[in-house]
Amino acid sequence: MRAVLGELIGWFGDPAHWTGPTGVPQRLLEHLGYTALALACALVIALPIGALVGHTGRGGFLLVGLANGLRALPTLGLLTVVVLLAGVGLLPPIAALTVLAVPPVLAGTYAGVRAVDPAVVDAARGMGMREHQVLLRVELPNALPIIFGGVRSAALQIVATATVAAYVAMGGLGRYVIDGLAQLDYPQVLAGAVLVAALAVVLDAAFAGVQRVVSPAGARRSRRGRAGRVSAVRATEPGGTPG
């Protein structure tokens, strides 16, 4: 353990690992770039669908089932199949990452909109709001904390899968792990793992912070920050499990 720790510190202390196209800053930027890109694609797809299904209440069963089914999809299998079919390059792996990020956002948005107090929605209608106003001004703002819980899960899922994606020739921090394994260079493997884990933890904390900030004052007391990720996980479970 101590020897490994020494080697790890040695790896991080080597200035060669901090510059150039294989340096830590470059790999970190790549990893963040993939994450942002795939998350943006997932939001564009999942937010409108989740909001619409949540608002109308139609197709909820199908959506929850789909989100659950997609969670059973092995990430490495999806990545390898997409890259074999569509070729190497940035787009195929990003598409695979997007596929994995859609279910949590979808489930979070749906659950968030459904969880809005029906009395509040009724009041909005009673005030003469049109359906789109009810959705955009009442349901979505109130659903924000749970939606953000879903976005947070999606971001973590992407960060984790982007690491695995190094196997199918993507850049990012996973390169250190995959290359290190291939070269039997354990300190490099470990350095990559530590960097990825740190990135995930920091990103999660950042999302938790944003989640707290976007919570409307009224919703804040019932759903405080940290619970978001778990509530999004729960939201994708089929219903009917009384607490």
Binding site: M1, V4, L5, N68, G69, R71, A72, L73, P74, T75, L76, G77, L78, T80, V81, V83, L84, L85, L156, V159, A160, T163, V164, Y167, V168, G174, V177, I178, L181, Y186, V189, L190, G192, A193, V194, V196, A197, A200, V201, D204, R226, R229, V230, V233, R234, E237, G240, T241, P242, G243
Partner: protein, 215 residues
């Protein structure tokens, strides 16, 4: 199809390995989460600590956890134990919260009634609180089972991955069939495990049946 027929024994072998790699951690995780959840439900400090530690553990990407474990527990990198320990960690991280919530939601009057009937704390926990916690715990267990089964495949990158080996083999040979077989097999296993746990959960809570029909 002919590939499937030719490699059937090998695939069955991988399925068995896959189930073992996902199932042992599920069981170990469950057995460890019950006392941890009990603890978290009794003391506010333990609850805060356990829930935040499991939150952090749950955020660590699987590949990172898999390759760090040899340094932490002193195993060889190709040892299947690494995969099992990693999945046990995730299972616990998920279930501690389920168990805590489930035990916390047992109505106080039920606990008081058990006390009044002269149940000692251990017996009350095992025969009253734990059974009432089953539905929520099973819900968590189902999520853990599905996620374990899909995560096992990542182990293929360190040489122990059940059906995941079909992904790395297929990718290296540029051969689609094994990958598709692996994906379908893995998804089927996950759905099967989910269904088995659902049925088991219902069988364990016969008193919920009437409520389900009524509600």
């Amino acid at each position: 199809m002919s590939w499937l027929a030719r490699n059937w024994p090998h695939i069955l072998d991988l399925v068995r390995q896959h189930l073992e790699l996902a199932g042992v951690p599920l069981l170990a995780g469950l057995l460890l989460s019950v006392p941890l959840g009990w603890l978290a439900n009794r003391s506010v400090a333990a609850r805060g600590l356990l829930l935040s530690v499991s939150g952090v553990l749950y955020t660590i990407p699987s590949l990172a956890l898999l390759v760090v474990l040899p340094a932490v527990i002193g195993t060889k990198i190709l040892n299947p134990v690494n995969v099992m320990v990693a999945l046990t960690v995730y299972t616990i991280a998920l279930l501690v919260r389920s168990v805590t919530d489930a035990l916390g939601s047992v109505p106080t009057h039920v606990v008081s009634a058990a006390d009044a009937m002269g149940f000692r704390p251990l017996r009350r926990f095992l025969t009253v609180e734990l059974p009432l916690a089953v539905p929520v715990v099973v819900a968590g267990l189902r999520v853990a089972a599905v996620s374990n089964i899909s995560l096992v495949s990542v182990g293929a990158l360190i040489g122990v991955g059940g059906l995941g080996e079909l992904f790395t083999d297929g990718f290296q040979l540029q051969f689609l069939t094994p990958i598709v077989v692996g994906i379908v097999g893995s998804v089927l296993l996950a759905l099967l495990a989910d269904a088995v746990l659902l049925v088991a959960g219902r069988a364990l809570t016969p008193w919920e049946r009437g409520a389900r029909r009524a509600g």
